[in-house]
């Protein structure tokens, strides 16, 4: 059984090529995936991300619950509206999922989790919510559109009623507000994204999502598919669950150390395992690669280093660079000259810091 978002017919009218994505029938591209990528880097594009799962947590002890559930420190969220990127871990420190937590009220937090992990996530959250008296409610009645690119915010703000435009303009990065949208539709507007560009992710009732999409399209926002979303997030150095990390990988091994908060006295799930792995020595690390030669780095290719073999995680062609880039997991140690086995040929690659691209610009050292 394939799920469809409310925008399914709209995608088909636009001539999208549809694919199965984690059980959802989603657009991979409407025409040229590379042009959609550039539209987001240079102007404004939009993605139907209604397949993502919105989960609302309510109850007086919700913050306490999140102190235990997630590896980042929920107390970084001091002001209502602020958002936090974090992982939830299993007891062995493996990543159950990555997610964004929005602090709305002391007794009301909103999570946005991955579509492909929905069932597992809900079971995991519910299993631990009980002892805190927290109510877990999935919100399938909402759709979501990500509007991304240097001109994305302005194009959306121009559609809002005049009296809320200033408030929407002032909204800081990684924060969200509830505002009245065009034609009275209620919007949850978050200044977040998965492209490395500025923009909004907009949660809107399913009954209004097609209307909002059409207004944005008429305002010159380019529809973009999951193909462009993947190349944009890869260039932006953002992990993809299932490809770059899963339950067998700790955040230390997935370049997610920045999301781990070992704050004094907080006993989050997986903490003991993380501390033990750190004390024993983390065996593997995630690195960024650029290939200056022609060809494309792909998931699963073997990576050869002086410290031993590794593998390509997310890999692909980076349209902003015009070359292939990848994340790879390799043994910790002196890597020497790193090569990738592509169809039996050892091709040299450069190890670089990522992100590869941020706010439309290649980062230092990426172009070579």
């Amino acid at each position: 059984m394939t799920d469809k978002t409310e925008l399914n017919a709209t995608h088909r009218e636009l001539g999208a090529r549809m694919v199965d994505f984690g059980g959802w029938d989603m657009p991979i591209a409407y025409g040229s995936q590379i042009e959609e990528h550039h539209a987001v880097r240079k102007d404004a594009g939009m993605f139907d991300v209604s397949h993502m799962t919105v989960v609302d947590l309510t109850g007086e002890r919700t913050r306490d619950f999140l102190r235990k559930l997630v590896a980042n420190n929920i107390d970084k969220l001091a002001k209502p509206g602020k958002a936090l990127y974090t992982c939830m871990l299993n007891e062995t420190g493996g990543v159950v999922d990555d997610l964004i937590v929005y602090f709305l009220r002391e007794d009301f937090f909103r999570l946005v989790v991955n579509a492909a992990t929905r069932v597992n996530d809900l079971a995991w959250i519910e299993k631990h919510a009980g002892e805190f008296g927290v109510t877990v409610r999935e919100r399938p009645e909402f759709g979501m559109i990500a509007v991304q690119g240097p001109n994305a915010r302005q194009k959306l703000i121009d559609l809002l009623p005049e009296d809320v435009r200033e408030k929407a303009t002032r909204l800081g990065k990684f924060a969200a507000i509830e505002v009245e949208g065009p034609n009275g539709m209620p919007l949850f507007l978050a200044r977040t994204g998965y492209t490395g560009e500025d923009g909004f992710e907009v949660v809107v009732p399913n009954t209004r999502v097609v209307e909002l999409w059409k207004l944005l399209h008429d305002a010159g926002v380019t529809p973009a598919g999951l193909g462009a979303r993947d190349t944009l997030r890869l260039e932006a150095g953002m992990n993809l669950y299932g490809q770059d990390m899963d339950e067998s990988v700790t955040p230390w091994e997935a370049a997610l150390a920045w999301t781990i908060s070992l704050d004094e006295g907080r006993d989050f799930i997986g903490r003991a395992a993380l501390e033990k792995q750190k004390a024993d020595g983390v065996p593997r690390t995630m690195i960024g690669l650029v290939m200056d030669e022609k060809g494309v780095l792909r998931h699963g290719q073997k990576v050869l280093t002086s410290a031993g073999e590794g593998e390509i995680l997310s890999g692909g062609f980076a349209p902003t660079l015009g070359k292939s880039v990848a994340f790879a997991r390799v043994p910790v140690g002196d890597l020497g000259d790193v090569r990738v086995d592509i169809r039996g040929k050892e091709v040299p690659v450069r190890v670089v810091k990522f992100p590869f691209v941020r706010d439309g610009q290649l980062m230092a050292g990426i172009a070579g």
């Binding site: 090529r17 040229s32 995936q33 060809g295 494309v296 062609f317 292939s324």
Partner: protein, 133 residues
């Protein structure tokens, strides 16, 4: 995107390569417009060596789109006598003109009877229609 009318003078492999028999008896090989559309934006083409012997049904070249790498099979057996080296810098030529400027390699055919194993343009059109449904 290029013209999706299928030229009637071409023959096809089930794996979406087209074959044009030239006046001198050599054959030119490319991939169909349907195939380039399914692959999406092409970013790299790995061409065979001129002089290489290829077997019908065996991989002879690789095209890589943003999405995936895909083998191009030799529709008939023979010797590679030319490759479209323009594709090294402009792989997107296949997206723009799969039927002509986007040709991939030319073969000196070993056994002309192998051409009889290929699909006609109409048969290929039927196959594509079935795949789409």
């Amino acid at each position: 995107m290029s013209n999706n009318e299928i030229p009637g003078d071409l023959k096809f492999a089930k794996s979406h390569e087209w074959v044009r028999v030239e006046q001198d008896g050599t054959v030119t090989v490319g991939i169909s417009d349907h195939a380039q559309g399914a692959l999406g934006d092409l970013v790299y083409v790995e061409l065979p060596e001129v002089g290489a012997e290829v077997e019908a049904g065996a991989g002879a070249a690789v095209v890589e789109s943003v999405k995936a790498a895909s083998d191009i099979y030799a529709p008939v057996s023979g010797e590679v006598i030319a490759v479209n080296s323009d594709l090294s810098d402009k792989p997107e030529t296949i997206n723009e003109d799969a039927w002509d400027a986007g040709w991939i390699f030319k073969l000196k055919i070993k056994d002309k009877s192998e051409l009889d194993n290929l699909l006609t343009a109409d048969e290929y059109a039927d196959q594509v229609e079935k795949e789409d449904n």
